[in-house]
C-alpha cells in the first residue's frame, strides 16, 4: 500500500515529532487502571496494593509459596496465650525522607489504621489489637484482646504497609505525597495517567522475594494507565512499555513467536466464586445453589476465554493460601453434572416451562463478562435463566449486600472475586453478620471463630478445612477458578529479572534493562 521507505520516513517523522521522552533507565509498566490512593488505609484494589508494595515496607515478607517470613521485623515472639506479639526490627531501615524507620513508625501506622475518625478500610483484618507499645526503638509489642493467628500473614501483606510517622507533617498525604521505606520512592502521581517512582538508593531488602539485597538496579519505574488491551500490546511491541497485561487472546501467538515473554503470577490467592442471595427463595434452598454448581463448568469457560492462563479452583481459598488442598475440596465441591442440576431443580418445581429466573452480577473488566456469558449459556441448559449485570467491584459489593437485605424479589447470584493472604477472609465473608449479610449459621460461626484462635497450625488447618467442607456441601461459596485478574504479564525481551511474588505483587528491584 505505502512503499516501505516512505513508511519508515513517515514513522520516523511522527516519532520524532512525538517528543517521547527517552526512557533510558526507567522501567515502564502499563496497567488497565489507576490506584485509588497513595494511602494504604484508603483503598482495597489490587491496582493500589501493587503500588503500595513498591513504595512501602511491611513488618514481614512472604516466601515464594506465600508463607510469612521476616523482613523489617527480623524475628518475633508470642506469649503462650497468643495475645502478645513482640517484634524486633532490623537496624538501618530508612524512610524516604531520611529518618530511620523504627518502632514509633509501626505504632503510628497501627494507630492510624484503628483510629476512630478515619480508620483503615481493612480495619477488621488488623484483628483485636488493644495496644501497640514501643519497648525500644527496635522493639515493638502488639497486645490483643483475644488470640488472632491471621495477624501474622496480615503483617506480611500490603494492607499493613508501614507509614512513616513523618507523613503526619506532610501536606496531602495519600493524594500528592507518601513517605514509605520501600524500594521505590514517589516522584509524582498524575491521576488517571501515571505514577512516577524513583529508586530508593538506601533500600535494604531483608525478606522480600527480590534477590537484590539493596537498591533497585534501574533508576526509575513509571506505572502508566492504558485501559485498552490492544493498545497495551501495541505499546509493548513498539517498546514504549516494557511490561503490561496483554489481550488474553493474543497470548498463544506471542508465546509462539517469542516476541514477548509471558509471566503468569502464581499463588495469587485470587478466588472467583459463586455466591447467592440466601435471604429468599430460591437460593435460600441449598438445592438451588448446588444446582448452579453442578450446571457450570469453569474448566470449559476458562479454556474459551483465558486458555491455559487460569485453572479451575476447588477450594474457597485459592492456591497459595493456608489450608488449600485440591483433593480435599474436590470431594465436596458440586462437580459439573448438568443432569444432577436438572434433577435438583425439578425437585424444586423448576423445568423448561418454569425456569428459575435470576440476576447474575459480575465485576466489569478482565473479560469476566465473556466468562459470565458462557456460564449464562450453561445455566440455560438446565433451565436457569440468568440476566447478566456488569458493574465495578465496589458497586458489586454494595449490590450483593443489598440483595441479601431484601426479603423478596428476583433471585440473585454473583460471580464474586476475592483475593486474600489467609483463610481469615472466610471469617469476614461468612461469620455473622458477614460482609454481605448473606448466609450464616451458628455452627459455621463457631468453626470460623476457632480458625482465628487455634494457634497450632495442624489444628487450625483441620478447622479451616471443616469450614471449606461446610461451605462447599451447602453450596454457599462455590469456587470457580484462579487466578482471575491482573495476573498475566507480557514482558519485553530486554527486561531481565522480572518476577511476580505471591498475591500478585510484581517485583522490580531485580529488573535490568539489557540491550
Amino acid at each position: 500500500m505505502i512503499p516501505t521507505p516512505l513508511k519508515q520516513t513517515l514513522a520516523a517523522a511522527l516519532i520524532a515529532s512525538a517528543a517521547i521522552p527517552a526512557y533510558g533507565a526507567d522501567i515502564v509498566w502499563a496497567r488497565y487502571g489507576d490506584i485509588d490512593s497513595l494511602d494504604p488505609h484508603k483503598a482495597t484494589s489490587t491496582l493500589s496494593l501493587q503500588v503500595w508494595r513498591l513504595m512501602y515496607d511491611s513488618l514481614l515478607g512472604t516466601d515464594a509459596t506465600g508463607a510469612p517470613v521476616p523482613h523489617v521485623a527480623k524475628s518475633w515472639t508470642t506469649n503462650e496465650a497468643g495475645t502478645e506479639y513482640t517484634f524486633s526490627l532490623n537496624e538501618g531501615v530508612l524512610c524516604h525522607d531520611g529518618t530511620p524507620l523504627d518502632a514509633n513508625d509501626v505504632k503510628y501506622t497501627v494507630e492510624l489504621a484503628l483510629s476512630e475518625d478515619s480508620p483503615s478500610l481493612t480495619k477488621a483484618s488488623w484483628g483485636p489489637i488493644t495496644a501497640v507499645d514501643v519497648i525500644d526503638p527496635l522493639t515493638v509489642k502488639f497486645t490483643l484482646a483475644t488470640p488472632f493467628v491471621a495477624m501474622i500473614p496480615f503483617l506480611a501483606d500490603g494492607f499493613s504497609s508501614i507509614i512513616c510517622d513523618s507523613n503526619a507533617d506532610a501536606e496531602g498525604f495519600g493524594t500528592d505525597t507518601a513517605i514509605g521505606s520501600g524500594p521505590w520512592t514517589l516522584v509524582s502521581w498524575t491521576k488517571g495517567d501515571k505514577i512516577v517512582l524513583a529508586k530508593n538508593p538506601d533500600y535494604k531488602n531483608f525478606g522480600r522475594l527480590a534477590q537484590n539485597p539493596g537498591a533497585p538496579f534501574e533508576d526509575g519505574l513509571i506505572i502508566t494507565v492504558v485501559p485498552e488491551p490492544q493498545a497495551r500490546l501495541a505499546a509493548l511491541k513498539t517498546g514504549e512499555v516494557h511490561i503490561a497485561e496483554p489481550p488474553f487472546d493474543d497470548v498463544p501467538a506471542l508465546k509462539e513467536s517469542g516476541e514477548l515473554s509471558i509471566t503468569v503470577a502464581e499463588n495469587t490467592g485470587q478466588n472467583v466464586f459463586w455466591e447467592f442471595a440466601t435471604s429468599r427463595l430460591p437460593f435460600s434452598d441449598k438445592r438451588a445453589r448446588l444446582a448452579v454448581g453442578h450446571a457450570t463448568d469453569p474448566a470449559l469457560a476458562i479454556d474459551l476465554i483465558y486458555g491455559d492462563l487460569s485453572i479451575p479452583e476447588a477450594c474457597p481459598v485459592s492456591r497459595g493460601v493456608f489450608g488449600n488442598d485440591q483433593e480435599f475440596c474436590k470431594q465436596y465441591r458440586p462437580d459439573y453434572d448438568p443432569d444432577k442440576a436438572k434433577a435438583l431443580l425439578a425437585e424444586m418445581g423448576y423445568g423448561p416451562d418454569n425456569p428459575l429466573e435470576t440476576t447474575m452480577v459480575v465485576w466489569t473488566g478482565g473479560n469476566r463478562q465473556k466468562l459470565a456469558e458462557v456460564f449464562q449459556a450453561q445455566l440455560a441448559e438446565v433451565n436457569i435463566e440468568a440476566d447478566i449485570e456488569i458493574m465495578d467491584i465496589g458497586s458489586m459489593n454494595a449490590r450483593v449486600r443489598q440483595e441479601n437485605e431484601k426479603t423478596e424479589g428476583k433471585a440473585s447470584m454473583d460471580m464474586m472475586t476475592w483475593s486474600w493472604y489467609d483463610p481469615d477472609i472466610l471469617y469476614a465473608l461468612w461469620h455473622s453478620p458477614g460482609a454481605y449479610r448473606g448466609y450464616n449459621t451458628p455452627e459455621l460461626d463457631k468453626m470460623l471463630e476457632d480458625t482465628r484462635t487455634l494457634t497450632d497450625p495442624a489444628a487450625r488447618k483441620a478447622k479451616v478445612q471443616e469450614v471449606f467442607k461446610h461451605l462447599l456441601e451447602n453450596g454457599v461459596h462455590i469456587p470457580l477458578y484462579t487466578p482471575g485478574w491482573e495476573w498475566v504479564f507480557a514482558v519485553r525481551p530486554e527486561v531481565e529479572g522480572f518476577k511476580v511474588a505471591p498475591f500478585v505483587y510484581p517485583v522490580f528491584a531485580d529488573v535490568k534493562l539489557g540491550g
Binding site: D249, Q369, Q376, D387, I388, I390
Partner: protein, 288 residues
Amino acid sequence: MSAPGGVTALRRPSLLLRLVSTPAGAIGLLIVLVLIGGAVLADFLAPFDPTKMGAGRRFQPPGGNHLLGTDEFGRDMFSRILHGARLTLLIGAVAVLISMTTGMLIGLAAAYARGWSEAVLMRGTDVLFSFTETLIALSCVAVLGPSLQNAVIAVGIAGIPFYARTCYSAALVERSKPYFEASIAAGAGHGRLIFLHLLPNVLPTMIVVATLGVSTAILAAAGLSFLGLGAQPPLPEWGYMLSGARDYFNRAPWLMTIPGLAIAMTVLGFNLLGDAIRTALDPAERQR
C-alpha cells in the same frame, strides 16, 4: 369519498415518487426497508439462534456455512446481526418516541401558553440543549444504572430539548396564522386549539425531524452500549458486539468490522431518508 381524503390519496404517491427520484433518497429508503425486513423476518431468515454458542467452530471467517463468520463462542454472526437489527430499530423507535412526545408536549405547551410558563419551559430547554445529548444521556445512565432499557430511556430524555425547540418554533409559526386567531375568537377551548389545530400542523415537521432523529438515537445508544453502559450480554446489540470484539482484533477482525458497518449503514440509511423527506416536503430546501 370526501375531498380531503382524495387530496391525500393523490399526494401520497407523489411524495414517494419524489423520494425515490433522487439517488440519495432511493438508497436511504432501500437501506431502511432492508433493515425493517431483516428485523421483522429475523426469526425466519436467521439460520441459527443468535445466542446459541457452538453453532459453528469459533472464529470462523465469513463465508461458507456462516455468511458473516462466527464469534469467540462460535455463535453465528449473521444471525446475531439480523437480531441486532431488530434491537437497533426498536431502540431508535422507542427513544425517538420518548423524545418526540415529551418534546412536543413541552413545545406545544410553551408556544400555546406564552407568558412566564413559556419563558420557563424554553429557557430550561435551552439550558439542557447546551449540555449536549451525550452528557444528558450519560447523567441519566449514572442515575438509572447500566442496562439497555435504561440506555434507551437516557437517549430518549437526552433528545427532548431538541424536539421541544423544533416543535416550539413550528407551533409559533402556526399560532400566528389568521385561522388560529379566528378559532380563538370563535371560542375554541384549549384542548381543541392545541390538539386539533396546533398538533396536526406541526406533526409533518416533527416526523421529518424524527426520521433524522432515529439515526442520532441509534448512534447514541450504540455508543452507550459500546462503553458498557447499555446492552448487557448476551443481547446481540451492535455497539456491545463491537466493544466485545476488540480483544479479538488480531485473530478475527471481522468481528469488529461487521457490527461497525451495520451501525454506519443504518445511520446512513436514516440520514439519507430523512434528508430526502425534508427536501421532498420543502421546496425551498430543494432549491439549495
